[in-house]
């Protein structure tokens, strides 16, 4: 019995040992497999500025944004971010964007969640609804054209309608207007 047990253990250790020594010698040309994902930083290594806020039909559709506002309530976003002023989570109507203010960044924040309290909605909301919520979130800080952003609501007045909000200037986009150029 005993020698058998020893040999099984030996065989087991050999098997795991095999994997340990395995390596991939030719992963392919580096340029053929860049690592991609939603970019959160304004600075890109190698000076290739990330493309943010590509034209997106959802952010240009008043209907889609109005739907986003409805889902913002239905999925309890309002419970943490209030009507833009924030509560448990940060404000969404100001110029501070911890994880990025672009449509893609907001979309990935909703889907992935964020480590400091934002729960992940992965697998819970249809993708098109996430895009609609993301577009609505951008309207909260005045990032959408006024004919796309929601106007007055039928509920208790608590905040200026999205349509009439001044456009905030998130650090990574729409930089504050430069008032003086350095002299040459």
């Amino acid at each position: 019995m005993r020698p058998m047990l020893v040999s099984i253990l030996l065989l087991g250790s050999l098997l795991t040992g095999c994997k340990r020594e395995q390596r991939v010698f030719d992963p392919g040309a580096a340029g053929s497999q860049p690592a991609n994902g939603t970019v959160l930083s304004e600075v890109a290594a190698g000076q290739q500025p990330p493309k943010g806020n590509q034209p997106n039909p959802i952010a240009e559709s008043a209907y889609a944004v109005a739907e986003g506002k409805r889902f913002y309530q239905a999925y309890n976003c309002v419970g943490c971010h209030a009507n833009g002023g924030g509560a448990i989570g940060p404000a969404l109507m100001d110029s501070e964007w911890i994880y990025g203010s672009s449509l893609e960044q907001i979309h990935s924040t909703i889907v992935q969640g964020r480590p400091n309290g934002m729960p992940s909605y992965a697998g819970k909301i249809p993708d098109y609804q996430v895009w609609e919520i993301a577009a609505y979130v951008r309207s909260m800080s005045g990032q959408l054209p006024s004919d796309v952003a929601p106007s007055r609501s039928d509920h208790m007045p608590m905040v200026v309608p999205e349509q009439s909000r001044p456009q905030e200037h998130p650090g990574a986009e729409h930089p504050q207007p430069v008032v003086s150029e350095p002299s040459r």
């Binding site: 309530q73 239905a74 999925y75 309890n76 309002v78 419970g79 943490c80 209030a82 009507n83 833009g84 002023g85 924030g86 509560a87 448990i88 989570g89 940060p90 404000a91 109507m93 100001d94 501070e96 480590p115 400091n116 309290g117 934002m118 729960p119 819970k124 509920h155 208790m156 608590m158 905040v159 200026v160």
Partner: protein, 611 residues
């Protein structure tokens, strides 16, 4: 054209005049907001002996927060000055009481819940050790009202405290070495822990938070030496899980019957019905009962949960050894306004209609100070200590809170001028009792709100509220009050008003003083008899903590307070919220539009003494 223009002008003028009159009327009604006419009756019944330490948040089992130290008096308090300070480095709401035991001070910080031990025997009280529990950062998104903790408790060489992500931890109080760590609350369901634990004999008591996330409330008892669960009593559900059995004898008929924690809810709603336990506990050694309150039912929108919603927004008396419920009383049945019943119960023996009664004093979120027989649960009196237009008192025969139906929230409709508001006449901030005056010193709010009920979905781990709210100052225009309350007459003796809610606790001392802090950073001492402010000091942030008084190794009396704005209203500063939205911080945006321009975040301990 011209005549139309002047007519418009007249209309506008008339409108302004009319509005002005209405404001005037509103103001006039404020003079009746608080009853006065109470008086001072020195308290002669026995109190727990004061050893000069401060081993638990509530000071003693009776929850008096009274220090018998008398070096600092009304005569010399003007000379009070900072003795030393300590930076917690956590710029969020500092709601913890500094704990003092064996010449060491213990500070529990908001998330990341660092525990600091400071050596009081050395000049400047240097750091002795620190313990970092590394709680999950995800907890910050599951806590309704900033990342607070209400502190630790010292017992028999051990220190117990809770982390926001749901653990109770026991440390060796001398070395900071971890003795055990028990997981109690599930973040994925929105449960957190913010309360200060309490120890009776071999049990440490811990309850959960998460009333805004559709959790099911409970109080747990853990064995102090092993951390193993001894019992757990839920606040909703079937009797065997609420630990209601043969010893349960509530005073009022509405609390009698089987499985009311199921039957007073729509089917299965009790599973996500709230009734969390995040306030302070009291203990009566003679009766061998612990007392604590249960928080609001969930969601806030009351229309989706018809029924009394037992056993939420009420209070339990339980056997600390077995957890068995002995009696229950529901202050706010079928709560309409987020009126958590978690307020403290101060245990005193009062002369009542010719005989000495064992009672508890409970300044409740619904605006009444209850005097309750603590053996039976009978309400002896319930008088309003703050302005209210939502209730007309308590029927002492049935125990029922009498409501004004017009003020009930409705889905899709705005109900205006609801007083008090959702944070209530008084939120978590604990009062104190002085035997010298026989008065209860109640820090509280004077606020009203507009509310619209909304549809709400239950999604585990996300808020379950269903209500849009905006708060504002009540009659008189000030949001905070400190009321000295005569519990026998059921009337106020004096009231101090403050611009902001007084969100700090109070401590009373044998020097005839009451200490409290304000959200704009002032730490103040008032004359316990008159309410005159005798001394004040501006700290670096806003104060929402629990002041304490202790005797140092040098024999001197010290007063300690943590400064650091946060908590529910102060999360506007700590969380950098945007008050252009009146519903920011779940309704505080409208009330505190400029507070970020007046107060900055902080987290500093201040310790004061005479020169």
């Amino acid at each position: 054209m011209k005549s139309t223009g002047s007519r418009t002008l007249w209309l506008v003028l008339f409108g302004i005049l009319g509005f002005w009159f209405m404001l005037g009327c509103h103001k006039q009604s404020s003079s009746t907001s608080a009853s006065t006419g109470g008086s001072i009756h020195p308290y002669t019944a026995e109190m727990e002996k004061d050893d000069g330490q401060w081993v638990r948040a509530t000071k003693d089992f009776a929850n008096t927060r009274y220090s018998s130290l008398s070096q600092i008096t009304a005569q010399n308090v003007a000379q009070l000055r900072v003795s030393w300070t300590f930076a917690t480095t956590v710029p969020h709401g500092q709601e913890a009481a500094p704990i003092v035991a064996n010449n060491t001070m213990y500070l529990a910080t908001p998330w990341p819940n660092v525990l600091y031990a400071l050596d009081l025997t050395k000049p400047g009280a240097p750091l002795k050790w620190k313990y970092e529990p590394h709680p999950s950062p995800a907890a910050k998104g599951e806590a309704c009202c900033d990342w607070v903790t209400r502190g630790a408790v010292f017992d028999n060489g051990k220190l117990f405290f809770n982390t926001l992500d749901g653990y109770t931890i026991a440390l060796n109080a001398d070395t900071g070495e971890q003795l055990w760590r028990t997981h109690l609350a599930d973040l994925n369901n929105g449960e957190t822990i913010t309360m200060a634990p309490m120890v009776v004999r071999n049990h440490v008591f811990v309850g959960n938070s998460g009333g805004e996330f559709g959790v099911r409330g409970w109080l747990a008892a853990l064995d102090t030496s092993s951390g193993k669960l001894a019992w757990k009593a839920y606040s909703t559900g079937p009797d065997n899980e609420v630990l209601i059995g043969s010893r349960f004898h509530p005073y009022y008929a509405t609390d009698k019957g089987s499985d009311l924690g199921v039957k007073t809810w729509p089917p299965d709603a009790w599973r996500i019905g709230g009734g969390t336990v995040w306030g302070f506990l009291s203990y009566d050694p003679q009766l061998n009962l612990i007392y604590y309150g249960t928080a609001n039912p969930g969601p806030w929108n009351p229309e989706v949960r018809p029924g009394d919603n037992k056993w939420t927004a009420g209070m339990f008396a339980r056997d600390p050894d077995t957890g068995e419920a002995v009696w229950f009383y529901q202050m706010s049945p079928h709560d309409l306004f987020d009126w958590d019943g978690i307020n403290e119960d101060v245990l005193v023996d009062l002369p009542w209609q010719g005989q000495l009664r064992k009672v508890l004093l409970r300044p409740d979120r619904n605006g009444h100070v209850y005097v309750i027989d603590r053996a039976t649960g009978q309400v002896l009196s319930a008088n309003p200590f703050a302005y209210t237009n939502t209730t007309t008192g308590v029927d002492l025969r049935t125990g029922a809170l009498q409501r004004i139906p017009d003020k009930a929230p409705r889905t899709g409709q705005v109900v205006r001028n609801i007083c008090p508001d959702a944070p209530g006449a008084k939120d978590w901030q604990p009062s104190s009792f002085s035997p010298q005056t026989g008065l209860l010193y109640i820090p509280h709010q004077n606020m009203c709100m507009d509310e619209e009920g909304t549809e709400v979905s239950y999604i585990a781990g996300t808020p379950y509220v269903g209500s849009s709210v905006q708060y504002y100052a009540g009659p008189g225009g000030h949001m905070g009050e400190l009321t000295a309350w005569d519990p026998i007459a059921g009337k106020a003796v004096w009231t101090i008003k403050d611009k902001y809610p007084i969100w700090s606790g109070t401590v009373t001392t044998a020097g005839g003083l009451v200490f409290f802090g304000t959200m704009d950073g002032w730490f103040k001492a008032a004359d316990a008899k008159t309410g005159n402010i005798l001394w004040q000091f501006k700290t670096d942030s806003g104060i929402i903590g629990q002041p304490v008084s202790y005797r140092g190794p040098d024999g001197k009396q010290y007063i300690a307070i943590l400064s650091g704005i946060g908590g529910w209203p102060g999360s506007i500063v700590a969380g950098q919220l945007d008050t252009r939205d009146g519903t920011a911080a779940n309704g505080w945006g409208k009330a505190l539009p400029n507070i970020r321009n007046e107060v900055t975040a902080g987290g500093t301990l201040y310790v004061f003494s005479l020169p």
